[in-house]
């Protein structure tokens, strides 16, 4: 019984050491984000001081007032566009991917192997290499500078189908068989049995699709032009262009773009982390 008393201080010391490292790392990740918020609450002059003040002096709503009132940079409009686009994109992915994944997981039909191979095959093609032809396609659909251009094409991604198919395959078949005996058709089984059982996977896919769409930058900066049509990421680029070193305004825009996804992250952390770790295991 002497061992515990001897190792207890060493154990405590190790614990303190561990927490010291954990906290130091946490600061590395958090201080830049805190600095974004702090700067967004400074005045123009306050943010120009060298060396910079640690805290806003005076505390000011200047940055937020600028982004909410300057009609050349309709940030609120971008916010609403982003919200609408990410929500609709997420719903479109859920609807199309879940139906396709269910057919691929549970139904036997001619062409199943080929379609699945084609879908999985595109997972290996870098999406950036398809940007030029995809631009031509949305151009011929007359979608350039409309919200559809940031909602629809991304839903062709194979990830959702692949992700949900794996989940459906892991579901026990007994419930579906019972539903068949009760006279349910495929649609009823899918809608009343499979989807309710898949809520965690659907939530994960919904959140990941929302995040991806909300944050997308490369595609929207080339397919959206009019100031009132932009989503937040290309909008922020415009904001940087017009305010250059007026950092409180730029940081206020960055805060506005961050708040919804940070809230979503706090609320749906489990789903996001699970989705990411599962995407690793499937490799």
């Amino acid at each position: 019984m002497t061992t515990p008393t001897r190792t207890a201080p060493a154990h405590t010391l190790r614990r303190v050491g561990l927490y010291a490292i954990l906290v130091a790392l946490a600061l590395v990740f958090l201080i830049p984000l805190a600095w974004m918020v702090i700067t967004s609450l400074k005045t123009y002059d306050g943010a120009q001081r060298i060396p910079p003040d640690w805290l806003p002096d005076p505390l000011s709503g200047y940055g937020y007032q600028q982004i909410l009132t300057n009609s050349a940079n309709p940030v609120l409009r971008w916010f609403l566009n982003s919200m609408l686009a990410a929500t609709l994109h997420s719903l479109l992915v859920l609807a199309t991917a879940s139906m396709a994944a269910y057919a691929l997981a549970r139904m036997r039909f001619r062409g199943r192997g080929v379609s699945f191979a084609l879908i999985v095959g595109t997972l290996f093609i870098p999406p950036t290499s398809l940007i030029i032809p995809n631009f031509l396609i949305v151009d011929s659909l007359n979608w350039i500078d409309t919200l559809a251009v940031v909602i629809v094409p991304g839903a062709a991604s194979a990830f959702g189908v692949f992700f949900l198919r794996q989940f459906f395959l892991s579901l026990p078949k007994e419930l579906e068989e019972a539903a068949v005996l009760d006279g349910a058709n495929q649609w009823q089984i899918f809608y009343r049995v499979v989807l309710p059982l898949s809520k965690p996977a659907l939530a994960t896919l919904a959140v990941l699709s929302f995040l991806t769409n909300w944050n997308d930058f490369l595609w929207p900066i080339f397919v959206l032009f009019s100031p009132e049509k932009l989503t937040l990421p290309p909008g922020l680029g415009l904001l940087q262009g017009s305010y250059v070193t007026d950092y409180p305004v730029i940081m206020a825009g960055a805060v506005l773009a961050s708040v919804p996804v940070l809230i979503l992250f706090v609320l749906a952390q489990r789903h996001i982390i699970q989705g990411v770790s599962r995407s690793g295991l499937k490799g």
Partner: protein
């Protein structure tokens, strides 16, 4: 990925009980059954065909044409667009290879860090202590922010005069006038550093899942055999992580090679166009300069380069395993 497909194939051998039961069932159900799979697939397949498959074919078609968005005449030029990328007297040769060089530098420097740093984070988080979930969330948090936010934020933090980075360095007695975003090698350090800060939490979460899949008995057995912490890491953790490591390596190489937003927003290509990446150059050539044919050829050459790198990656790891 391979076992996933095998699982699907194995299941395909025997008709799913649901389907065979339906076949035994009412005739009407049988008739509906024929078209049902295609109806379920149709909405996704429309999207997939138009925005997933068609662009591949169209990309190949564009790459053998001189295709200017603003000109009505778009002649077939054979492999000229490809040849130009490799002949030093063409108009695009210099810029193209400069962008390849920039992308290569970024990838070669960032990938080792993005493989090792997250592994360290994951090992740190892979023990039971109060607050574990909290710290994991904090380390992951930057990743949920998009590159636009990250880019704007770090352009400011790295500002030579007004930025926090130089201020903190000055406060601890280091040079406080480093031109982080306007000169090399600083611009490279900035781009890599920001990317490590931004995405390490993502890879760490993938590692964590892999670490939790290693059987605890293996560690117990190693302990009984008197293995030190390092030996347990070397002979239990690393072999157990090999598939996850390969996945992280491959996806990180691809992600790094596709870098765009960081250099577009933080260094803005500076100095000159030295940090302009391949993806940036391709979209600029194709969509700003209306030269879709050349840009499509570049996209294809770029995709092939990435395929070669990915295959080499797989080979390297499989050989080590033998």
């Amino acid at each position: 990925m391979a076992d996933v497909i095998e699982v699907g194939a194995a299941r395909g051998d025997a008709p799913p009980p649901a389907a065979s039961a339906a076949r035994r069932g009412a005739k009407s159900a049988n008739r509906v059954g024929r078209a049902t799979p295609y109806l379920f697939l149709a909405p996704y397949l429309v999207l997939f065909t138009v925005f997933g498959l068609l662009p591949i074919v169209l990309g190949l078609y564009l790459s053998v044409h001189q295709w200017d968005f603003q000109l009505p005449n778009r002649p077939f030029v054979g492999l000229d667009n490809y040849k130009e990328l490799f002949s030093s007297d063409s108009a695009v040769f210099g810029d193209w290879w400069q962008s390849v060089r920039a992308t290569a530098i970024f990838t070669v420097v960032s990938v080792p860090l993005l493989v090792v740093v997250p592994l360290g984070l994951a090992l740190l988080l892979n023990r039971s202590f109060p607050g574990r979930t909290f710290f994991r969330a904090v380390y992951f948090a930057p990743y949920v922010l998009g590159v636009a936010v990250i880019g704007l934020l770090w352009r400011f933090l790295l500002d030579a005069n007004l930025g926090l980075v130089n201020r903190v360095l000055g406060a601890v007695g280091l040079p406080s006038d480093t031109p982080w975003v306007t000169d090399v090698p600083w611009a490279w350090i900035s781009l890599v550093g920001v990317t490590v800060w931004w995405t390490s939490g993502f890879n760490a979460v993938i590692y964590l899942a892999g670490l939790q899949d290693i059987a605890p008995e293996l560690y117990e057995a190693a302990k009984v055999d008197g293995a030190s912490t390092w030996e347990r890491f070397r002979h239990v953790t690393l072999p157990g992580l090999r598939p996850v490591l390969l996945f992280v390596m491959t996806t990180t190489v691809l992600a790094s090679a596709n870098v765009f937003g960081q250099s577009f927003l933080i260094t803005q290509g500076a100095p000159g166009t030295e940090t302009r990446t391949v993806v940036w150059y391709i979209v600029e050539q194709g969509l700003r300069n209306n030269d879709a044919g050349r840009a499509a050829a570049m996209s294809i050459v770029f995709a092939l380069m990435l395929a070669v790198v990915s295959l080499a990656n797989f080979r390297l790891f499989r050989y080590r395993e033998d």
